[in-house]
């Protein structure tokens, strides 16, 4: 037996990779190159040896800061390029990998250039905006002035133009100077201020003006035809031209202050039409000049930006890599002489040679006289868990990791999940029509795998894509189970020959009262199509699926227990085998294993025995005669023996293990009850300064009551669990029943009903409703629910039997894993 187990072929994914704690002593001059090469290899997980230091106290804090600064500049460029609406694809030219300092200088130059151009164009833009606003005001305000002119003359007052130019308007002031002729201020005269304001501020502006002048003003407004670009956000805003008529000097200062407060730009408009025309002409000519300048500026800037844009992606990845390298270097320690960096980390044992080669190459490339010292260390803590998965197994490994990362070298349930997971799903989702739909979806994802994997997907799509192989396998298995259940959108087909049943006579009149007769061998594969629609369909299928669920459940739980045996064997703990695995096996199989046996015997013999009765009276009155429920000879004594074994198994799994542990503990420390712990710790400190400092030893404090309570809980959980878990597997039956009933309802009550009408419209509606119900309820909701139930059966019922899941994942330092989302 032992030999047989030892000779079993090694399963790759069964145990996580063997890990080794290694120490690197790297000379300072080659350290950067070493880490870079290691990052390219991506098989070494560094341990942070400076965890107690804050980020800016670390050795390479400066370089990290420089990288941060550079990535800020790169973000700035990216932002600017996006703003300018340029789309430049990265040009793959073979630029030599230049060093960081060079890039830094280059980036600083570019940034300076872009900033200068920005500020220039911003100034121009501002002037342009002002001129544009002025033009709009001139065009719109004149209308008011003409109409109010007549009105004003009637009031025997003359309009006086306001002579105000706002302070941002320096360049055009020369243009305005001619209007600034001193004019006798007529205190009683009606004066006006014209200007332009953002549309959303208009109401409040008007209210404020009204309040400030106590209603002694006239407010005219008209929307401008063009939208003006806001220089800050570069969004187009709608503006309103206004003209306020008022009287009095005090009101004027007040209104000007309010205009300023609301950011309304005021422009003087001469009331004389000839002057207006002249002014408009001048403004227009200046506008066209400015436009040309602005365009040229923008073109120049876009050129500069696109030249940056060509290598932007490359620079971004480069800076990100550099930052990762320095972050890793910060995890290393200086040795005493300050000439070497000391690093510790985990690597898979198989990768040791690769790492060695890489380090040698780095030493050679950096012309260092001293090589990197690379040696294996003794580890105190438990190593990280690392599975080498591929595209297919990765998704299943993720499902397992969602529950808990396996303890180092623990049996990995993902190996079995690859088959059991889709299978249990399919038991609940057995319909080969729906299975085909799923298969088509999965095949679509698989066919476009190459394309989809490169682009960013939405969260839902990403989830689907990540689980494409899971869906693919689930689809295949549900086709298989659907064939067994003989359901295609709930319709049975005669794929494997004709039915084993036929009517008693040719008229088939009593088919629904007396029943059919069997005239040949059972249907070769799956359920006989004749069951469909018969009165006994449900009792038959329920009994079949229920029993099948229990058989599947018991076998999966047994597999879990057997895995716990392999775990115990692997970790060399015979206690677990003797006092946990064996009694658990006995308990589970003497009760529910026996039930499975009864089910199989009943199926084979076609007996009429009532299994409920057998199981219940096995406990209530084990000595009583079984009567007509006897399935085989010697059943009664066997039941008594099994019952006794089950009763013995409970204390067996409860008591011996804690006592045995205590005995071992007592023996280990016998005769040296004091002083042991202290010295051992000191010894270890001397031997292994680096690792011991980082991870203090947790001394094994033996607490008997705690262990006993733990064992008590564990045993109770197992005993109660074996009942409830078996019952839990009945969900396989329940969900499969729900699925087939739902699809029957949709098929019969929607599709067939609608087809019964001659009206084409009703038929179309019927088809549409059926299609929607199939797609959303059966294909999406039912898939999800079956998925979740399969998940639960794995996590709780299967993995609960053996899986500890308290490990931690192996996270190597690798450039490939530096993702975009750390931005």
């Amino acid at each position: 037996m032992e030999d047989f187990i030892d000779k079993l072929p090694q399963m790759d994914l069964m145990r996580s990779e063997k890990m080794t704690l290694v120490q690197l002593i790297i000379p300072v001059e080659s350290s950067h190159r070493c880490i870079t090469y290691l990052g390219e290899l991506g098989l070494l997980q560094f341990r942070d040896l400076n965890a107690d230091k804050s980020p800016f106290q670390r050795t390479f804090a400066n370089q990290v800061k420089r990288c941060g600064e550079m990535s800020r500049k790169l973000r700035f460029f990216k932002d600017q390029i996006d703003k300018a609406g340029l789309r430049c694809s990265p040009r793959h030219e073979l630029e030599p990998d230049f060093e960081l300092g060079h890039l830094e200088r280059q980036l600083a130059d570019h940034e300076h250039e872009v900033l200068e151009m920005n500020s220039n164009s911003e100034k121009l833009r501002q002037t342009y905006n002002e001129l544009l606003e002025f033009k709009i005001v001139l065009q719109n305000a004149s209308g008011f002035l003409v109409s109010s002119n007549a009105h004003a003359i009637g009031d025997e007052t003359e309009l006086h133009e306001s002579t105000y130019s706002n302070n941002g308007f320096i360049e055009s002031s020369s243009l305005l100077e001619q209007e600034m002729r001193p004019e006798p201020l007529n205190q009683s005269g009606l004066r006006f201020i014209s200007g332009i304001i953002n549309k959303d501020k208009l109401l409040r502006f008007e209210r404020m003006l009204f309040r400030a002048t106590r209603g002694n003003m006239l407010f005219n407004q008209t929307p401008s035809d063009e939208e003006i670009m806001d220089p800050l956000t570069s969004e187009m805003v709608e503006k309103i031209v206004f003209v306020v008529f008022f009287s009095g000097e005090q009101a004027r200062t007040k209104i000007l202050k309010i205009c300023e407060a609301f950011g309304a730009n005021c422009y003087p408009v001469p009331e004389d039409t000839t002057k207006q025309r002249q002014l408009t002409r001048e403004v227009l000519s200046r506008l066209s000049d400015l436009e040309a300048t602005l365009d040229a500026g923008t073109r120049h800037r876009n050129n500069a930006l696109s030249s940056v844009g060509y290598s932007l992606t490359k620079w971004i990845t480069m800076v990100r890599r550099e930052k990762a390298v320095y972050d890793t270097l910060n995890m290393l320690n200086f040795d005493v002489t300050k000439k070497c960096l000391v690093g510790e980390g985990w690597c898979p044992t198989f990768a040791k040679t690769q790492i060695h080669e890489v380090l040698q190459r780095a030493t050679f490339d950096s012309n260092s006289q001293v090589g990197v010292i690379f040696h294996v260390m003794q580890a105190v803590e438990s190593p990280p868990t690392y599975f080498r998965t591929n595209k297919l197994t990765n998704a299943f490994q993720e499902i397992i990791d969602a529950y808990g990362v396996a303890r180092y070298q623990e049996a990995n349930p993902a190996v079995y999940s690859v088959v059991t997971y889709p299978f249990l799903f399919a038991v609940m989702f057995g319909d080969w029509g729906h299975g085909l739909c799923l298969l088509l979806g999965a095949l679509y994802l698989l066919a476009r795998e190459r394309k989809l994997s490169t682009q960013k997907l939405g969260s839902f799509m990403e989830m689907l894509f990540g689980g494409r192989y899971v869906i693919f396998l689930m689809a295949l298995f549900s086709i298989y189970c659907g064939l067994i259940y003989n359901e295609f959108f709930s319709v049975p087909f005669h794929i494997f020959g004709s039915s084993a049943y036929k009517c008693r006579d040719t008229t088939c009149s009593d088919a629904y009262t007396v029943g059919l007769i069997k005239y040949r061998d059972p249907y070769p594969f799956g359920v006989d199509p004749s069951w469909r629609g018969s009165r006994t369909e449900l009792p038959y299928l329920n009994s079949l699926k229920m029993k099948m669920s229990i058989l599947l459940g018991i076998s999966q739980m047994n597999l879990g227990l057997i895995l716990s045996f392999f775990n115990a064997r692997f970790f060399g703990s015979s206690l677990d085998i003797k006092y946990q695995f064996i009694p658990q096996m006995i308990f589970l199989n003497s009760l529910f294993g026996y039930l499975s046996l009864l089910i199989i015997i009943k199926w084979c013999t076609g007996s009429q025995a009532d299994l409920y009765h057998v199981m219940i009276y096995m406990f209530l009155s084990p000595t009583e005669e079984l009567g007509e429920n006897e399935l085989f000879w010697g059943q009664r004594p066997l039941q008594i023996v099994l019952l006794l074994m089950a009763f013995i198994a409970v204390p067996w799994m409860l008591f011996p293990k804690p006592f045995a542990l205590r005995k071992i503990h007592m023996e280990r420390f016998q005769g040296r009850t004091y002083g042991v712990l202290v010295t051992s710790e000191v010894d270890l400190d001397v031997e292994e300064p680096d690792s011991a400092r980082a991870h203090g030893h947790q001394e094994e404090d033996f607490n008997f009551s705690e262990i006993f309570v733990h064992q008590l809980i564990h045993s109770i959980e197992f005993v109660l669990g074996s009942v409830s878990n078996t019952a839990s597997y009945l969900r396989l039956w329940a969900l499969s029943l729900a699925h087939s009933e739902l699809s029957t309802v949709f098929y019969e009550k929607v599709l067939l009903l609608a087809w019964g009408y001659e009206n084409i419209l009703i038929r179309l509606i019927g088809v549409a409703v059926f299609a929607f119900a199939t797609a959303f309820i059966l294909l999406m909701m039912e898939t999800l629910s079956a998925f979740l139930h399969a998940l639960r059966l794995h996590w709780v019922e299967f993995m609960g039997k053996f899986f500890h899941g308290d490990g931690y994942k192996f996270k190597p330092f690798s450039f490939a894993l530096i993702s975009d989302d750390d931005e």
């Binding site: 804050s54 800016f56 106290q57 804090a61 800061k65 973000r75 404020m208 007040k254 407060a261 609301f262």
Partner: protein, 351 residues
């Protein structure tokens, strides 16, 4: 409703309370402050803060940093958090959250009015305003010449309008008047807030009464100390004290007649909660008083998190964040001016 608010609180307040408690976990801890105190320059501070909630707000700042930039960005983060909460809030929590910013509004009004009085540029003044206390027509404040105009033109639209009923005079604005206006407004605000919290009932009123009473008492002490040696009469002084709090009414009588700091101390030492604060200081000293009050305030604010199903956590959280920003400002200033020995003088640790 008292005693049963826990049943229904989560219908409207549960999500936000969860948010604010999550935010609370992001407050800088003593360990963070210790690290920050070891920084050599402002870039180090930025680097340390990049690991905190402020990271994304500071990461796009070009390298020669200034203290103002750090404070500005941190405040921006606070305002964003506040606005997020305000958007999610329903009545009466939204009113409660609005109340939190009225204090800043009063400060901003006073800032702008004082600034205009000294003929400063309005834009410059607006940049100095606390963003939490911004309201639409704040820039128009510069137009007003006296209190009446101030009220009639601008403030009638703001929530501060009801608080103005006590200080409507036609007097021209001067420094003294403005200061009195600030305190009158603050008094009215605190009393209104206090009443509002009483109306809310339950744990909110219980905790907020305590916090607001402390605030009122602190203001009373500050008013007294600041008015010693000015022409403010005793009656006027007494009018500025809020009509609630531990000192009301007998403490106010005594504070109103104080002539020097030691007398204030004598009054305050009669009240056990304040005894501890004053006993830390030597006689004649008022420098450390601010810090002592801040520390006491932070202690009380932290206690507000001990109970569940009430609104005071929002108030407490906002106050703590403001204190955190004050701490950051102090640390950055000390680092920037190479005064690292004084760094611990003004930092108030929380949690």
């Amino acid at each position: 409703m008292y005693g049963f608010e826990a049943l229904t609180f989560n219908i409207h307040g549960g999500y936000l309370e969860a948010i604010v408690r999550g935010h609370r976990a992001g407050l800088l801890t003593t360990a963070d402050y210790n690290n920050l105190c070891q920084c050599e320059n402002l870039d180090d501070i930025k680097m340390h803060l990049s690991a905190t909630k402020y990271g994304s707000y500071l990461q796009n700042e070009p390298s020669p940093l200034h203290t103002t930039t750090i404070v500005e960005k941190c405040t921006l983060k606070l305002v964003d958090d506040y606005k997020h909460m305000l958007c999610q809030a329903t009545e009466p929590m939204s009113s409660f959250l609005e109340y939190i910013r009225y204090g800043h509004m009063i400060d901003n009004v006073v800032l702008i009015v004082t600034g205009t009085l000294h003929e400063r540029d309005v834009q410059e003044l607006i940049e100095k305003c606390h963003p939490l206390g911004m309201f639409d027509s704040i820039a128009t404040l510069a137009v007003a010449q006296n209190m009446r105009e101030l009220y009639r033109l601008v403030l009638v639209d703001t929530p501060l309008a009801p608080y103005f009923s006590e200080c409507l005079t036609s007097e021209d604005l001067d420094d003294m008047n403005i200061e009195i206006m600030r305190n009158t407004l603050y008094k009215a605000y605190l009393e209104d807030f206090y009443k509002f919290c009483q109306k809310l009932g339950g744990a909110t009123s219980e905790i907020m009464s305590d916090l607001l009473a402390f605030e009122a008492d602190r203001r009373a002490v500050n008013i007294t100390i600041n008015s010693i040696g000015t022409e403010l009469t005793r009656e006027d002084r007494k009018k500025l004290y809020s009509n609630f709090g531990l000192l009301y009414p007998y403490g106010h009588e005594e504070l109103a007649i104080c002539e020097d700091i030691d007398q204030v101390r004598g009054v305050m030492e009669k009240y056990p909660p304040y005894q501890a604060i004053f006993s830390k200081m030597s006689y004649g000293e008022s420098q450390m008083l601010d810090k002592a009050f801040y520390e006491e305030e932070v202690r009380r604010l932290c206690l507000a998190f001990e109970q569940q199903f009430h609104y005071a956590v929002f108030f407490a959280y906002m106050r703590l964040r403001e204190q955190e920003i004050r701490n950051l400002m102090w640390i950055s200033e000390c680092v920037a001016q190479n005064q690292k020995s004084r760094i611990h003088d003004s930092v108030v640790y929380m949690f």
